[in-house]
């Protein structure tokens, strides 16, 4: 009872997520609030925005308030990990968000698997992503994609880098008409162009989409991607975890960091994705580490869209006593009410600014 009334919705979810992760052997990782500014400059495109709060430490070194956690974890990975590391974190990050372009402190809870990513490990992370969403609401969807399909299709167009970037942006917004326009401008083969627009619009259950995705195979990269997606989906289905999972190739992340499976989680009535993750071997490679990695983060600030808990009371009983009443008398009444399990707010004036269930006027019952 006390936890239920004292913890906010966000705190309750955060407890549930952390106990979920630790149940699978993931260890909590606590990191410093600051990170060297250089880390973010070198990996600028990994971050969603390039606005970072930077400042000098007492020795004059340039530091930054973390805009992201994954980079810090990746940096702290040994060059050659012989054993897998399973970590989770609950950290505040500082990002510019919303239309007002102001810095915000955002609580992020996430999980990272670092090591040799085999099919089981990948499925475990996907399953944990799914279970995390289920902790938040019954109405959720986990969308899985494989970057290899997009990368492979774009490879075979032979388009310049800028055009590829433009197209992958349009995939992210399911914008078929602009993809056709760009392909038209560069004279991309119409069959290939239609495959790319199909990629943008495909959406649905595993059983519905996998056969469609197989039709999009044009080269080794795409074939490998579809096969990996199939293996993972079969494993997820085998473990009985495929409901609420859809395939959506518009889940696009930066190709220089992410390779392979990427995924996003959505909760009904929360705009935008509340969970985001994927396989980021490329990031580790860029940081000079010899290992694979997969992970995800849950953006806890978005939970405010679900927290409709307006009937939370500040106290069960508002006890109003006369100014001249003796302290002992008030004490006795407060203790009596407390022993009955009530939360008591005692005051000599009938407060209007607190929410209570019942009001008792001392000496009047």
């Amino acid at each position: 009872m006390p936890e239920n009334t004292l913890l906010s919705f966000e705190e309750k979810i955060s407890m549930k997520l952390m106990s979920l992760f630790s149940g699978y052997g993931y260890k909590k990782f606590k990191m410093s609030k600051f990170e060297e500014y250089d880390l973010y400059i070198e990996n600028k495109s990994f971050l969603k925005s390039d606005n970072i709060i930077a400042f000098n430490d007492p020795t004059g070194k340039l530091l930054a308030l973390k805009p992201d956690v994954t980079l810090s974890i990746a940096k702290n990975t040994a060059e050659n990990e012989s054993e897998p590391r399973k970590l989770f974190y609950s950290e505040n990050v500082y990002r510019v968000s919303g239309n007002m372009h102001e810095f915000k402190e955002i609580n992020q809870i996430g999980l990272e698997f670092i090591g040799d990513v085999d099919t089981y490990s990948l499925c475990e992370v996907l399953n944990l992503a799914k279970l995390s969403l289920a902790q938040i609401s019954d109405s959720y969807v986990l969308d899985i994609s494989h970057m290899g399909l997009l990368i492979g299709l774009l490879e075979s167009t032979g388009l310049p880098y800028d055009a590829k970037e433009e197209i992958s942006g349009y995939i992210g917004t399911k914008n078929s008409h602009e993809i056709r326009r760009v392909c038209g401008e560069y004279g991309v083969d119409t069959v290939l162009c239609e495959k790319i627009t199909t990629l943008a619009s495909l959406y649905g259950s595993i059983d519905k989409i996998i056969p469609e995705a197989e039709k999009l195979i044009v080269n080794d990269t795409t074939e490998k991607a579809v096969n990996e997606l199939k293996t993972v989906c079969t494993a997820l289905k085998y473990s009985g975890n495929a409901d609420n999972i859809n395939i959506d190739f518009s889940v696009v992340s930066d190709i220089s960091y992410y390779n392979g499976i990427t995924f996003r989680g959505f909760i009904e009535n929360v705009p935008g994705s509340i969970l985001s993750g994927g396989r980021y071997d490329n990031l580790l490679k860029k940081l000079g580490k010899n290992s694979g990695a997969v992970g995800f983060a849950v953006y806890m600030d978005l939970l405010s869209y679900l927290d409709r808990d307006n009937d939370r009371y500040d106290a069960d009983v508002l006890l109003v006593y006369d100014k001249n009443a003796s302290a002992e008398e008030v004490f006795n009444k407060v203790n009596e009410l407390k022993s009955e399990g009530n939360r008591v707010f005692a005051s000599s004036v009938p407060c209007k600014n607190i929410k209570y269930k019942t009001k008792i006027i001392l000496g009047e019952e």
Binding site: N99, S139, V141, D143, Y170, T173, K174, N175, S176, H177, E178, Y203, G204, N246, S250, F266, I267, E268, N269, V270, P271, G272, S273
Partner: protein
């Protein structure tokens, strides 16, 4: 039982045209055409709820999920860059975004260009891609006045027929991008009302492109 789709339409001519199209496709809501000051209209039978909103606010309504889908000009999408799906180009409300200035003059090459516009982000992006430095003067209307009165060198604005420009002795220097109305959807709604939104999309597509 199908879920109700919330639709944000831009007030004005474009919105009315879009409504007529939607009505034809089975998304009618007769109450909408009654001349009232109401802003929300619902038709249970057809499973739709319409909002009339300011054209530049449509994308915000859809991005926050209050509206599941909406119709908005590409100019607004380019300017605000909302996190939504752009599912269809409706092909109407066609115009272009262009740089214009006083007739007979050219874009100054040797100095920072003063640009008056309602679309600072589009203007910034366009001139940055040409490595030109600009000063933006953000206006909310009567943009054409700025170069006439010498407040700016050029304007970045929507050009439909070009008659407003001509009447004010201005002309287009260069085109930036073609604009038309787009059918957009909220990313979360797309997942929880997939069937309804995909059906609506395919009906519009069939009506507009397969006739």
């Amino acid at each position: 039982m199908n879920k109700v789709i919330n639709i944000a339409l831009p007030k004005g001519r474009l919105g009315e045209k879009v409504y007529k199209l939607f009505e034809k496709l089975g998304y009618g809501c007769p109450a909408l055409l009654e001349n009232t000051r109401k802003l929300v209209f619902e038709d249970e039978k057809n499973g739709v709820r319409y909002f009339w909103v300011k054209p530049s606010d449509v994308a915000i309504y859809v991005e926050t999920g209050v509206a599941d889908v909406g119709v908005v000009g590409k100019d607004i999408l380019l300017e605000q860059n909302p996190d939504v799906y752009e599912l269809l180009d409706l092909g109407f409300g066609k115009c272009r975004m262009a740089v214009a200035g006083k007739k007979g003059e050219i874009l100054p090459l040797d100095k920072t260009i003063k640009v008056a516009t309602k679309f600072p982000n589009i203007a910034k992006k366009h001139f940055t891609s040409k490595s030109r430095e600009i000063d933006i003067i953000k206006l909310n209307g009567s943009i054409e006045l700025a170069p006439i009165l010498g407040m700016s060198d050029v304007i970045v604005d929507i050009v439909e027929t070009g008659s407003t420009l001509r009447e004010n002795d201005l002309e287009v220097f260069e085109d930036i991008v073609n604009i038309s109305a787009r059918f957009i959807s909220n990313k979360t709604s797309f997942r929880f009302k997939t069937e309804e939104i995909e059906l609506m999309k395919s009906r519009i597509e069939k009506e507009l492109y397969n006739d």
